[in-house]
């Protein structure tokens, strides 16, 4: 790989000293993963399907993933590198409220998935739906509603991909790659990693992240277990770790006059804590990449069986979150290449400072590979949305499966290129703000998708207006949150419920407004007998399993 030569040439400009052993281990693992990604093009592919000439093959991995692969794929899809970096970073900065809610979030998630996703799988299997917007289109017969769902999905996914790239960037910068003095050279390792990622995703489609996810998970589990056992025993045990966190958070924040944070949320933030968990859980499976993982499974009940074992990842996430406190005790100071404190670097920095070089290499590679897997799935999901619900639905209704696969492959390159440009040209906080907004926006597709799985009562126009009102409120409310120390807008995702002083997650307020508007307008439109769209699904579609015949249109 040319990156090895390159690594030697940047040694002189980097602000961090290069850790040669760690870097070598990282490069070996990245090369191995890339080879695996390309080989996946032939993994479980029937000879007749070589070349992956349909969205079912390229974008959904042949719709045949069983229990094991699905477990790894969804694990890689939902517990992303951004989570591994951002959750401990939040814990390190301000404590439990903004970080640890990720644990109840990923617990509450699974009953919701159990309830909804088997029905979505069945109706999608019967009608060959590839995206959530395909389902909405079939259920409500409304082009505008379909387009709105598709565009929301794409827009919400893009900053999410950008944040995965930021994760890789964080890993590379603590390794000593990356410097302000030479931006093009500094970003070259990231660009190389991304070009390779784009190439194997183009070639192998969803099979690439599915196979890489297995490697990623093994790496992550080993790293987390070692980190959680070894680090505390060398730092004086958990008791002293929590004590040092408590001491840090007790200090007064000069901008607000209040303590920096807390290790146990106070009564005033209980509502924020549980609404963050619930709202994030409701939003997650509205994201196109999560639905892609579900529709790629073999049978109606694969996802339900997985729901029983997927919570194991939440144990790992909870332990990882605690590494934020471990870093406080260890005295880790995450300084970026620009010389400023960047909390996102806290976990990579902690690994590098406290592990021998070879193991730090494995740990950093685990985070990096943990970014490649979701980035691939997200770009595939966004491309599928573009292909099915914009290219086909709006411009080329008679597109063949071959044309769809071709368009989607090319779109995946554009999506990744766009995310890369985003990361290279914009400040990291822009990506975080947009990701925050993305979570609020994607939850506004919940009424259309979820109620559609159970009832056809809601009117397509009412859903459209409800969506618009929800997006509008959510965006304005998020804009009005001002960071007390920097005075910047989009300072967080918590705001008081209108006309009260109870602070909760903005997405939940926006969702409730959206749902109420949808219900009231549906009642009004039904009373006025305004024409509703055609529903191509039938009640029996929602219970179909893999042996039931597909509906031919």
């Amino acid at each position: 790989m040319s990156s090895e030569i390159f690594a030697a040439s940047t040694a002189t400009v980097a602000s961090h000293p290069i850790n040669g052993v760690a870097l070598a281990v990282l490069i070996i693992i990245f090369v191995g993963v890339a080879v695996l990604g390309f080989l996946a093009a032939r993994w479980r592919v029937k000879p007749a399907e070589r070349g992956l000439k349909s969205l079912d093959e390229w974008g959904l991995g042949g719709r045949g993933f069983g229990n094991w692969i699905t477990w790894f794929l969804l694990g890689g899809d939902l517990y992303t590198a951004y989570t591994f970096i951002a959750v401990p970073a939040a814990m390190w900065s301000t404590g439990a409220l903004t970080g640890f809610f990720a644990v109840p979030y990923t617990i509450v998630l699974y009953p919701i998935v159990f309830l909804l996703m088997a029905r979505l799988w069945s109706v999608s299997h019967r009608h060959g739906f590839v995206t959530p917007a395909d389902f909405v289109g079939g259920r409500y017969g409304s082009k505008s509603l379909t387009t709105v769902i598709a565009v929301t999905g794409i827009v919400a996914t893009m900053p999410y991909i950008a944040l995965q790239l930021d994760g890789i960037k964080a890993v590379l910068s603590v390794l000593g790659l990356g410097s302000e003095s030479n931006p093009i050279m500094a970003d070259l390792p990231l660009i190389i990693a991304f070009v390779v990622l784009a190439a194997y995703t183009y070639t192998a489609g969803l099979r690439a992240p599915a196979s890489i996810a297995i490697v990623k998970d093994l790496l992550i589990y080993v790293v987390v277990i070692v980190a959680i056992v070894w680090l505390p025993s060398h730092l004086g045990g958990w008791g002293t770790i929590f004590d040092s966190a408590r001491t840090k958070f007790a200090a007064t924040n000069p901008a607000t006059g209040k303590p920096i944070g807390s290790i146990i949320p106070g009564a005033a933030s209980f509502n924020a804590y549980w609404t963050l968990a619930l709202g994030s859980a409701m939003a997650l499976f509205m994201y196109p990449h999560a639905i892609t993982g579900v529709l790629a499974t073999k049978s109606r009940n694969t996802i339900r069986r997985n729901v029983v074992v997927l919570p194991l990842y939440s144990v790992m996430l909870g332990l990882l979150a605690l590494l934020g406190y471990v870093a406080i005790k260890a005295g880790t100071i995450p300084i970026g290449v620009d010389g400023k404190i960047n909390p996102q670097l806290v976990v990579p920095e902690l690994f590098l400072n406290n592990f021998p070089g070879w193991f730090a290499g494995i740990a950093l590679a685990a985070i990096g590979v943990g970014a490649l897997v979701p980035a691939a799935i997200m770009s595939i999901a966004a491309s599928n949305l573009f292909t099915r619900n914009i290219y086909r639905d709006l411009f080329k209704p008679k597109a063949t499966p071959q044309q769809e696969a071709k368009v989607s492959k090319i779109a995946s390159l554009f999506v990744k290129f766009g995310a890369l440009m985003f990361v290279l040209s914009m400040d990291q906080s822009a990506a975080i703000n947009l990701q925050l907004l993305g979570g609020i926006w994607i939850l506004q597709t919940f009424p259309a998708i979820v109620t559609g799985l159970y009832t056809r009562w809601l009117h397509r126009r009412a859903l459209l207006i409800g969506w618009a009102v929800g997006i509008g409120y959510g965006t304005i409310a998020a804009y009005n949150v001002v960071n007390p120390s920097t005075k910047a807008h989009f300072g967080g995702s918590i705001a008081p419920i209108p006309f009260t002083n109870i602070p909760i997650y903005i997405a939940i307020t926006a969702f409730v407004i959206n749902a109420v508007v949808s219900v009231i307008l549906t009642a009004a439109f039904r009373a006025m007998k305004i024409k509703d769209g055609e529903d191509i699904t039938t009640a029996s579609d929602y219970g179909a399993d893999e042996d039931d015949p597909k509906v031919v249109r």
Binding site: V103, P104, I263, A267, L312, S540
Partner: protein
């Protein structure tokens, strides 16, 4: 587009679905009751209750989901069997689709 509705499953019995629904509701609400666990003591290996309780609550949650899974799958299999035995009995019979 299908012209006639061919049922994939027989009629549902409410019992198993009510039971599964209640268990799922418990699985959603219980982790969100913050006042129940927002405290320091008792500690486990020095870790405050707030943290170890939430991490370990993954296991009862998984157990609960496993129970829901067995309840729902048993009923699902029964409903599918109803349709399949009906289809087998009525092979060649034109009144098959009248069954809802």
């Amino acid at each position: 587009m299908s012209t006639t509705e061919v049922p994939t499953r027989g009629p549902a019995r409410p019992g198993p679905y009510i039971m599964a629904g209640v268990l799922l509701a418990v699985g959603i609400v219980a982790p969100l009751l913050v006042p129940m666990y927002a405290r320091v003591d008792p500690r486990l290996f020095g870790i405050p209750f707030f943290y170890w309780y939430q991490i370990l609550s993954v296991f009862p949650e998984a157990g609960l989901l496993w129970i829901v899974y067995t309840i729902v799958i048993r009923e699902d299999d029964r409903r599918r069997e109803v349709v399949r035995s009906l289809r087998a009995a009525q092979t060649g019979d034109t009144t098959a689709e009248a069954q809802k």
